[in-house]
Symmetry: D3
Subunit: 258 residues, 6 copies
Amino acid sequence: MRYEHLTSPAIATLDRDSTILLLPLGAVEQHGPHLPLGTDTMIAKAICDAAAEQRSDTFVLPPPWYGVSEHHMRFSGTLTLSVDTMRAIVSDVVGSAVAHGFRRILMVNGHGGNRPALDVLATTLGKTHYGRASIAGLTYFQLAAKQIDAVRDSRPGGTGHAGEMETSVLLHLTPDLVSMDEAKAVYPDTGSPYLTTDLTRSSPIRTYNDFADLSASGVFGDPELASADKGERFFSAIVEELTRFLEDFAKWPIRGRD
Amino acid sequence: MRYEHLTSPAIATLDRDSTILLLPLGAVEQHGPHLPLGTDTMIAKAICDAAAEQRSDTFVLPPPWYGVSEHHMRFSGTLTLSVDTMRAIVSDVVGSAVAHGFRRILMVNGHGGNRPALDVLATTLGKTHYGRASIAGLTYFQLAAKQIDAVRDSRPGGTGHAGEMETSVLLHLTPDLVSMDEAKAVYPDTGSPYLTTDLTRSSPIRTYNDFADLSASGVFGDPELASADKGERFFSAIVEELTRFLEDFAKWPIRGRD
Amino acid sequence: MRYEHLTSPAIATLDRDSTILLLPLGAVEQHGPHLPLGTDTMIAKAICDAAAEQRSDTFVLPPPWYGVSEHHMRFSGTLTLSVDTMRAIVSDVVGSAVAHGFRRILMVNGHGGNRPALDVLATTLGKTHYGRASIAGLTYFQLAAKQIDAVRDSRPGGTGHAGEMETSVLLHLTPDLVSMDEAKAVYPDTGSPYLTTDLTRSSPIRTYNDFADLSASGVFGDPELASADKGERFFSAIVEELTRFLEDFAKWPIRGRD
Amino acid sequence: MRYEHLTSPAIATLDRDSTILLLPLGAVEQHGPHLPLGTDTMIAKAICDAAAEQRSDTFVLPPPWYGVSEHHMRFSGTLTLSVDTMRAIVSDVVGSAVAHGFRRILMVNGHGGNRPALDVLATTLGKTHYGRASIAGLTYFQLAAKQIDAVRDSRPGGTGHAGEMETSVLLHLTPDLVSMDEAKAVYPDTGSPYLTTDLTRSSPIRTYNDFADLSASGVFGDPELASADKGERFFSAIVEELTRFLEDFAKWPIRGRD
Amino acid sequence: MRYEHLTSPAIATLDRDSTILLLPLGAVEQHGPHLPLGTDTMIAKAICDAAAEQRSDTFVLPPPWYGVSEHHMRFSGTLTLSVDTMRAIVSDVVGSAVAHGFRRILMVNGHGGNRPALDVLATTLGKTHYGRASIAGLTYFQLAAKQIDAVRDSRPGGTGHAGEMETSVLLHLTPDLVSMDEAKAVYPDTGSPYLTTDLTRSSPIRTYNDFADLSASGVFGDPELASADKGERFFSAIVEELTRFLEDFAKWPIRGRD
Amino acid sequence: MRYEHLTSPAIATLDRDSTILLLPLGAVEQHGPHLPLGTDTMIAKAICDAAAEQRSDTFVLPPPWYGVSEHHMRFSGTLTLSVDTMRAIVSDVVGSAVAHGFRRILMVNGHGGNRPALDVLATTLGKTHYGRASIAGLTYFQLAAKQIDAVRDSRPGGTGHAGEMETSVLLHLTPDLVSMDEAKAVYPDTGSPYLTTDLTRSSPIRTYNDFADLSASGVFGDPELASADKGERFFSAIVEELTRFLEDFAKWPIRGRD
C-alpha cells in the first residue's frame, strides 16, 4: 500500500474514481527527553498505513517528514519548515497527483504546528483543483478527539505534546525509541483560561506559543500515565475513526465534474 | 476610539503597556439577495467599536475591508484577496504598529473564509514579534458560539452565511441595508456528515466548499427567522464576550520581555 | 453609490458597458499635530463619493485604507504597507471586479507615497486585463493641480503634506477632527532646487525623502492659511475636475475588445 | 570612465564622498522601421558617457540593456522584463555598489516604459540604503523637457517614441543604424485629451497603452523632421542638463549619516 | 544513526566540531516497469545509512522524499517539486540544523533532476551560513563514477535512469520491489553527440530532456544486465567512496570562523 | 549580427527554423589587480560575436552584463545579482524571444559563478517552452576544456579565475585594459583534494568558496604565463568549438513540435 513501492505502470492501472491517496504530515521536533524527534511523522504514517491496510483502494504517499515547528526551535534538534515551504511541498505533491488523474487526496496531519498551513492548503488546493479532485485535510487528534478522551486517564492538559497519548502510541509502535525513565509530567500554565495545550481541546483564540516558555522539558502533559497497552487502544481508536471517515470521503462528489 | 481619527502626537502619548489595538477583518462578498456585500466587515467593525467604547485603553484600526472570498466568486460582486495578499496587508499593518511600540494587538475576524489566513497570521506574527508584542486573533462567532446558540431559534445549519444571526445583526445595525422580502431560508446539503455550514459548529475536516455548489442564492441558513430585536441580543452577547476576552488579553505577559 | 451597500443580485444587474468603479486609495499616517492619521483616505473617499453622486453609473469601492508610508514611519502612529502589498491588494480587488465583467475601473489616489505603486498598477493591470477592461489611476492633486493653485493663497511649498489644502478640505469635511491651534507652517528645505514638496508641483528627479529629515512636526506647508470656506472651494474644484475626467473615461474604448 | 574597465584595486581607491555612479537604463524594443531595437539603451548610455567625461569623479556602470516593454511586445523583436525583474536587477546592482561604500548613485533612464519601475526603485532603494547613500533616478527627456522643446520643430505628438528627437540623436550618434527612407511620421490618436504620447509632455492619468493599438508602424511622432545636426543639438542640451544636475547631486547630504 | 530516532537532549550533547549530518535527496518518479517509484530516495538513504554506520559522528536526516522530476511527469505516478520548492525545503532544514550549532552538513543526492537545485543550494547555503558551517552537496553517481564504471558491464548509455546500476542496487537492497521480467534495455538516442544519458558521463551542454521523448518505457540503459551480486559491488564501492569523502569533509575548516 | 542593431521589421523577416540567438552571460567582478571588472562578460560576448560572424543565421543578444558573484563581494567593485535575479532576467529575455517565434536559443556563459543558475535556467526554460523552442546553455571553458588544456602551459590550478587563459584572451582582445605588471601567480590551496579551482577541471563536490579566503589578490592561477599570442590561440580554439556545437544545435529537433 506504499505508493513509493509501486511502479509507474502499476500506478497507471489504478482506478481514478475510487483510489484514495493519503499524505501523512508530521514534524521533526523535540518531544521531550523520552520521545524521538520523529514522533509526529511516525505516528501519522503508522495511522495511514493501518487505515490503508483495511482498504484495497487506498495508498500512502511518502511523508515529507518535516513540518512547521518554529515554536520548538529553542529545543535542540528541532528542524522547521516555514509555513510557505510547507505549503509549497504539499502543493507540488498534490498537484502532481492530480495531474495523473487522482481525484481523492487526503492530508493526514499529526502535528499541531501544521494546522494553520493545513487549513490554507485544504482550501487553496481545493480551489486550484476544483472540478478535478476532492482534497481534504485533517489532524488525527481532532478527528478522534472523543475516542482519545475515552481512552485517556489524564485530566485536561495531560494529553498534550509528548503527553499521555503520543507516548502511549509510540510505546505501542516502537517501544525501543521510548525512554520511560525520562518521562515526567508537565502541566503548562498558559496564563490564560482561553488557551489550552491539550490536543483534544480547542480554543477560539489563535496566537503564538513558544513551547520553551511553558515547559522546561518540552513536554505538555503526562507521559507517566502512558503504556503500550493504552497505546494500542489509542491507535486502534484513531485508525477506526480514520477508516470511518475514508468510507465517507470515498463517496464525496467531485464538484464541478460530477 | 477610532485610530484613524487620532493625530500622530496623540498616538505617541498612549501607554504602551495597556493599550490594545483591534484590527477588524471581514470581506466584500455576496450575502444573498437580502444583505449587502459589506456585511462581514461592517459587523466585525461594529463589534470592535462597541467593545472599544467600554475600555478607555482600546482603539480600533481601520479595516482593510476585503477578505479571502474565492469560494464566493461565482456570485456577482464578490471581491476576493488571495490568502497571501491577506497575510501581507495584516502583516504590514501589525508590523508597523509594533514598530511604534504597541504590545497588544488583536485581529477580530468576522468572515469564515479568513480563518486559515488568520491562523497563519496569529502564529507567524506572534513569532516575528516575539519579545515585543502579544498578537492574537479570533473569529467572533467562534468566540461567542455558545452565546449565539443561546439566542438563535434556528436548527443546525440555520445560522450560516447570511443566515439568522448575520441578518439579525444587520437589522439591528443598519436596517436600511436589509431586504427582508428577499430573505429565504436555505439549508445546504454538504453531502457529508463530517462537513457543517453552521457558523457555531466546527468540523475536524478541512476542505474547499464552493458556495455556489451548495446554495443557489448564496444563503446558508434561515434569515427568515431574523429580527432587529434578536439582532440586538446577538450583538450584545458577542460584544460582551469580546469584552470579557479583552480583560484577559490585557493581562497577558509579553513573553520574552516580561 | 457605495459598492459595499449593494447586494450581489443588484451588482449583477449593472450595465457593464457604462458602469465605472472608483477605488479610493490613501494612507494611515502622520499628518502633523493638527490632522488625523486617516486624512488621505478620508479625502480620497470623499472626493469619490461626491463625484459618484453626480453620475448614476458610478460606484465607490471600499478603500483598503492603508498606503505606502515608509517615509513617515519615524512619526508615531504611521502604519505602512510595502509597495508589493499595495500592489497585491489593488491587483486582487481589480482582478475580482474584472472577473465580474466590470470594464471601467479608476484608482483615485490621495497620497503622494502611493504614486510609484499606482504607476506600476496602472500599467500592469492594464496589460493583465487588456481586451477586457480599461483601468486607470490618478492622484487627485495632480489631476486638479491648476484648480488647487487657483484657490490657494500659499506660496510654493505651502500646499504640501498637511498644508493649506489638506487642512482646508478637512475643515470642510470633518472640522471636529482638526486642531487648528496646533497648526503651524513649515516650509521644508529639501537641499536641492530639483526637489519640491508642494503637492501641485512635480520634479523630474525621483528619490527617497524621509519626512522626519525635513520637518520636525511632519507638516509640509502652511496649514495656518486653511479655512473651511477655502476647503469647500478646494473640494468643489477637485470634484468638478474628477467628474470632468469621468465623462471622458466613460467613453474610452476597451482596446482589444471593441 | 567605464566602470567595467577598471580593476578592483582601482575601484578601491576611489573617494567615496565624491564619486558618482551612473546606471544607464533603456530597453531592447521596436523603434519603428527606421531605428534599431537598442535605441533607448544606446542613447541613455551615450548621455551618461558624455556627462561622465566632464567630471573626473563620475563613472558609468554597464547597462543591463533590457527594460520594461510589455506595451511593445506585439512588435517583433521586442524583449521585455517584468517590472519585478527590472526592480531585482537594479536593486542588486545598486545594493552591491552601496556595499562597497559608494554613496551617490543615479539611475539615468531613457525609456518611458521603465518609469513606474524607476519610481519604485528610487523610493525603495532610498529607504533601504538610508543613512548610507543617496540614490536618485531620472528620465532624461523629462529632465531636459524644456531644452528638447527648444530644439524640436515638431508639434505636440511629434517627439514621441522613435520620433523627431530619438531619430535625430541616433543620426548624430550612429547614423549607420538609421534608415531615414523608412522613417514616416505618425501622430497617434489616444482617444482622450487626457493622454499624451509626447515625451516632453506628461499626464495626470496613468494607464496602459498598447503601442500597436495606436500606431501600425510603432512610431509615435515625426522622424521625418530628424537630422544629425539637430541630433547634435538635442544631445548637447540633454548632456548639459544632466551635468547641471550632477553638480547639484554631488552636494546632496547623505541623510541619516551627515 | 537516524537523526529522527534521537531525543532532543541527545542531540544537544553531540559534539558540534565533529558531527556530520547527511541529508539524503532523491525523487518519487517513474523508474520503468521494473523498479519502484521511490528508487532514487531509497538508494540515497541506504548509502547514507551505510556510510553513517562506519562513523560514530555521522547522522542521517530523514529524506524529504520528493525531488525535481518535471522531465518524468508524462509517466504516471511521478510526483515532482519545482526547483524552488526543493530549494525551500532543503534551505529550511539546513538552516534549522545550523541554528542548533551543527557545522558540517552534506546533501547526498541520488537523482539527476536534482542537480541544478543542488548546485544552487550548495552555493547559496554556503554563503548564507558562511562563518558558521561548511555545507556541501554531491550526487553519488558523480562522486563514484569511476568506481561504478569499474563494476558495470554495459556500454555507454547502459547505466542511465533505471539502468544496470540502479536496478542492481535495488536487487541488492530490496529484491522484492524489482520485477526483472519487466526489465528491458533501452539505449536512447538524444539526437546529439553533445548529450549523454549515462549517469557516469557528463556533458558541457545543459538543456531540458523530456524522458518520454527518448524512451517509451522510461528506462535509460540496460537493466537486463543487473544482478543482486553486482548490486552489492556497486553499493559497496559507492559507500566506500562516500566514506572516503567524509573523512576529508570532517577536516574542512569552517571558513570565517576558524 | 548584433540583435540590438536590427530593426523590428528586420527581425520579423528572420527564418524561425534556422535562426539561432546567442545570449552572452558574464559578470562584473574583481579579476585581480591586472584585469578589468568586466572581463567575463567581455570574453563571453567576444566569443559569441566571433561565432556569429561565421554563421549567417546567428545573432547575438545584448548581454545583461551582471552575474552571480557573491563569492567575490569581499573584493571592491564586484557587483552581484542573486541567483533568482539572474534567473528572472534570463527567463524574461528568453521568454520574449520565444514569444516572437524564435526556436533556438543558446546561453553562452563565461563565469563560473553563473553555472548553478545556468543549469536551473536550461532545465526550467526548456520545460516552460517545451514544444516551441530548444533552449540550451553552456560555459565556454567547459565546452572547450580540452582545447584550452592543449594551449595552456600552466599546471593544474594555473588556469583559474584571472589566470593564464583569461589574461591571455584579454591581451588578445583589449590589451589596453590589462596591466601585466600587476599580474602575479596564485595557486590557491582549497584545503581538500576534492575541490579544484582550475576552470577546465570539475569536481563532484558542490560547495561555496569565498574567493577572499583562498587568494589575497583575487587571482586563481598564473597570469604571468599569459600572452596575446596565446590569447589568440585560446580564443580561436574556443570559437571553433562553439561553432562546431552550433552546427549541431542548428539541427536539434524541437521536441513536442517536430
